[in-house]
Amino acid sequence: MLKVLDTAELGTWVEAIIKAHDVIGIQARADKFDFGPLAKVQDLRLDYDVSLNAPKRFFLLPDEKLFTFKKDEAKSAQAAEPFVLFGVHPYDLIALRQLDKLFEMDNPDVHYLSRRAKAIVVAVDVQKPSAHVFAGCLGFEHVEDSYDILLTKIGNEYLADAATAAGEKLIALGKGFTKADDTHLAARKKIWDENKQALRRHELKPNKAQITAQLEKSYDHKIWKEKARLCFSCGSCNLVCPTCYCFDVADRLNWDLASGERVRTWDGCMLEDFATVAGPHNFRNQREARYRHRYYRKGKYVPDKIGEFSCVGCGRCIGACVTHIANPVEVYNAIMEA
């Protein structure tokens, strides 16, 4: 369902949504933007460049209870509350689409999936490119599925594309929506084309398939060692990445030492002990081996698994790396030069 809303009417619509739902919306935070509980419509900033934190944290929580136990009895903890996630950029939605596949395949993960099932996602096309975004190079500047609603700002109007029943219900909360026509679709296409050029703050030379193919031959490339020399093994690049999803699992005891909970927490393959087992024996002992692994995961391992390139070009890792070595564009450009 395609509708159009005057930007002046956006406020009343969002107000109605806030009244009816818990809303996590994009808003300003210090001199940046981030998702958070949206208290009032004035805080919503659809003109943002990039959110400090990727939306994955609302589905794969940084710290999440899997089940509670009492002596020998365990009870699954699946208390997901429905909410509206308002203002997701296309590249981040593509990242969520990838996580959906990964958590669904083989052994479906009920914790992640139930949160996803209960969330209504309102995506928005990028209005202002961030400092490091390169999603345009990857074709991830726009998205054509996986949203409940996609909003695109066209002049003084928002084109609202509701792709699901939940999306349509949300639109029904608003007043002043009018029917869209082909000119709107053409305008949106134009914005997508423009964004393909605009979201290229770094220029990735090879295309996705070329990277995946080239990685086949790049295991001993000098770039891994060169870059990893300055790696803190701090995992910041993992944790800010919208498609990184590794986790650790541990038990927490209550004071009775018999009951407690099993939790999973974010983990990252860049951390020194990520592959350490009893012994102790570390299967990825070298910084460069861990560093390489991350770029292989994004460019080859996950693509081999789900058929999608697993860096979406959000550029968060570039900004998050204190030592400025985590730019996928630099890495993938370098391996092309043998």
């Binding site: 210090a30 803190f232 005891l253 004071w255 020194e272 204190v322």
Partner: protein, 244 residues
């Protein structure tokens, strides 16, 4: 299991770590249900000579304290170092970069030569006697204290992170201090605090000590990027991680 007999001793420190035990609030009562405190000067009047677990707060700064510590070690089956002063020497180690005579004169003037003012190189507990468990931080985090204590009592190895503070900082979703060109020690400091300081808008000053394998060279090399010098880094590292 019988409740283990626990004794808590303090050496040179601010006693802020013991204070965190009070900050367990109701949890303190749970702790007292699981252990039998036999000596804890700050909270109870009893004193004792036999115990299973000795908890040591503070740095060792005098010869006589070294002897006292060795004596405690002999009586304890398990020794826990509580807080930065005990685990890494903490802020007390700032003293180690000065001439001790000069330090005494600075603070005590003409009385500096009095024998009881003798002061020695500051040591962490493990530099004097073997330590089984280190509870890091200045002060310790009361949740982590609880987790470690419960682990010890349940017979599991306490998991103490060997990853940097950045991990917890990112989980919290903070804006990195380097975005504001501040020298944050997070990338080389052991996590476990929940990144309290960066979450409070302040840089990490390293109170939990360095990682097992910190990339200090990288930390030095990146100072340039942020318009800082290696001296700025070293100065901050000195606060809690004076290696002398």
């Amino acid at each position: 299991m019988d409740r283990p007999r626990v004794a808590i001793f303090d050496f040179a420190c601010c006693e802020g770590c013991q204070l965190q035990l009070y900050n367990l609030e109701e949890g303190l009562l749970d702790v007292l249900g699981l252990i039998e405190p036999v000596e804890w000067r700050e909270a109870i009047s009893d004193q004792s000579d036999s115990y299973d677990i000795a908890v040591i707060e503070g740095s060792i700064t005098r010869k006589e304290d070294e002897e006292r510590l060795k004596d405690i070690r002999k009586r304890a089956k398990v020794m826990i170092a509580l807080g930065a002063c005990a685990t890494i020497g903490g802020v007390n180690k700032l003293k180690n970069q000065f001439d001790f005579g000069e330090v005494r004169r600075t603070v005590y003037g003409k009385d500096a030569e009095a024998p009881h003012l003798d002061t020695a190189r500051v040591k962490a507990v493990h530099e004097v006697v073997p330590v089984e468990v280190k509870i890091h931080g200045c002060p310790i985090d009361h949740f982590e204290f609880g987790t470690i204590l419960k682990s010890v009592l349940a017979g599991k190895t306490p998991s103490i992170p060997n990853y940097p503070v950045c991990v917890e900082c990112k989980k919290k979703g903070n804006i990195c201090r380097y975005e504001y060109n501040e020298v944050c020690l997070g990338p080389i400091t052991r996590a476990g605090c929940g990144a309290k300081c960066p979450t409070g808008g302040f840089w990490c000053f390293g109170c939990r000590g360095l990682l097992d394998n910190p990339n200090v060279d990288a930390a030095k090399e990146v100072m340039d990027i942020y318009g800082k010098t290696v001296d700025d880094l070293s100065g901050r590292l000195l606060l809690f991680n004076n290696q002398s």
